[in-house]
Symmetry: C2
Subunit: 297 residues, 2 copies
């Protein structure tokens, strides 16, 4: 079958063997924002034409393609939900010559009754869950970071933090960015600045006070321009981790792109937790697993 992780700004397709292994891979900059209304079937067909020509007849999509702005809106499934529940709730869309279905996103509410949503991460977690038989919580960093509560491999609930997007807005559109220039984010000085930001996130005064401190430290020469962005990143990720990390969480698997995952693992350790980056193609694995559980025509 064919699996596609189709997000806001990217299109990542894999051709999958029956055992779920990846046979081939196509990436395109055709996220859903780049597709004209009514143009989803055509865009998909052009991207995966060689695989269709080779006889593939099943296509499973996940991500923002199932949102109101995507191909068709796949209603959020309520938590708790795992691969089985997702496989039973796929949304078929019209496509000549193959069966195309969309994995729905998940909805939950937090402890205070405020809604939560995800689209795409449920598939990554479905792919990673078999590797995590004992995990109670997993972290998926990103523009909108997700902290997922797991129960017997299913998603029992989750909480989202706007961390990545807040970082970009604060860096790009406040006075803080004026005191920063791009540095090598992988050198010792940047790691040191990131760690300082994480430590700061545990001090008194709250995030909005700590944000002004970024400017004041720079003003007094106590934060170099090349280190400002790393410090701000540590500050925000530190605030997220301190709010999201449960006590006695055990080892927290971090699922996502290697550089960001390494920063989260670093912050989790600094906040008293234990983290482990879970390498792998979790979206592809999740699509294979959900596709394997679905009943196709």
């Amino acid at each position: 079958m064919i699996g596609v992780d189709w997000g806001t700004s990217s299109f990542r397709a894999v051709r999958l063997a029956v055992d779920g292994s990846v046979l081939a891979r196509i990436e395109a900059p055709q996220g859903i924002m780049a597709v004209a209304e009514g143009g989803f079937a055509e865009t998909l067909r052009a991207a995966i034409a060689p695989w269709l020509a080779a006889g593939e007849r099943r296509v499973l999509l996940c991500g923002m393609v199932g949102s109101r702005q995507g191909w068709a809106e796949a209603a959020y499934l309520a938590c708790p939900a795992g691969a089985e529940e997702l496989a039973a709730a796929l949304l078929p869309v019209a496509f000549g010559g193959a069966e195309v279905r969309i994995v729905p996103g998940l909805a939950a509410t937090d402890a205070d009754g405020v809604p939560e949503v995800m689209r795409g991460e449920e598939t990554q977690v479905a792919g990673a869950a078999p590797l995590l038989p004992d995990a109670r919580i997993a972290c998926l960093p990103g523009t909108h970071s997700k902290w997922v509560r797991l129960e017997a491999g299913r998603i029992a609930g989750f909480a989202t933090h706007l961390t990545g997007e807040a970082f970009a807005a604060l860096r790009g559109h406040t006075i803080l960015g004026r005191m920063m220039r791009a540095g090598d984010t992988d050198d010792a000085a940047s790691r040191g600045a990131f760690d300082r930001g994480v430590v700061r996130s545990g001090e008194a005064g709250g995030l909005l006070h700590h944000l002004f401190g970024v400017r004041a430290l720079a003003l007094f020469g106590r934060l170099a321009e090349a280190e400002g962005a790393s410090y701000l990143s540590g500050l925000l990720i530190g605030h997220e981790v301190r709010a999201a990390l449960p006590k006695n969480a055990g080892v927290v698997p971090v699922i996502g792109e290697a550089t960001l995952a390494a920063l989260y693992a670093r912050a989790i350790a600094a906040c008293g937790g234990r983290a482990e980056w879970l390498a792998g193609e979790h979206a592809a694995a999740g699509l294979a697993r959900i596709g394997g559980l679905a009943s196709w025509n």
Copy 2:
């Protein structure tokens, strides 16, 4: 004498009687960012020409005009400091035909040793302090809100929160703004949304989680587009107040523009405090008071 509150984006001059009352007023859109390098004396002379012609010979400036980007850098004075200490530390600048001096800003450190700075607010507090004989803390809302600790009318220390600037960046440059349209910020619905944001700021999960909730509430039709900005404002101001308001603070005077001060007073009350908007021209009063204590030639 003449007093000028000369900030980043505004120029507000007053002609003061010997008793400190305001005789006349000039406002211009000539904040320091609009003045060419070396052009401060000329800009000032043009703005206050009629008063100089009428015989005024003393001019006292406060605000960002004393920063590195202003006319001349007036080194920060260390806390504790009040009107007397400020009056003894004025920075003279060259100006033919009148004495012109700049009130220095203040510096402090927070409980964790991170620096704090203000320029302009020290003069407002010097003006308001005689009205506040018993206050232990005062709140000056704004782009960079200040919470000032008072001891016997002097500023013992202070903490800044980047609240106003964070609000603008998050509203203007994240997905949150796409779910908002301008509403009447003074109607009952907006006040209700502001109050909901303040309540939310006291719930579990932290600010970065609460920010994502703004989107999720809108997505599920639980937050109207016209109310989104007020809710976000309440959320951020609520987080600030909860972090900054000491227990048993007594009545907190709020010093600043009426609309914003009313929102802060509302949030302080919702967070268990008591607040009082302190109307008045505090910068002018502070300039008069500091000018009266200074020794002019």
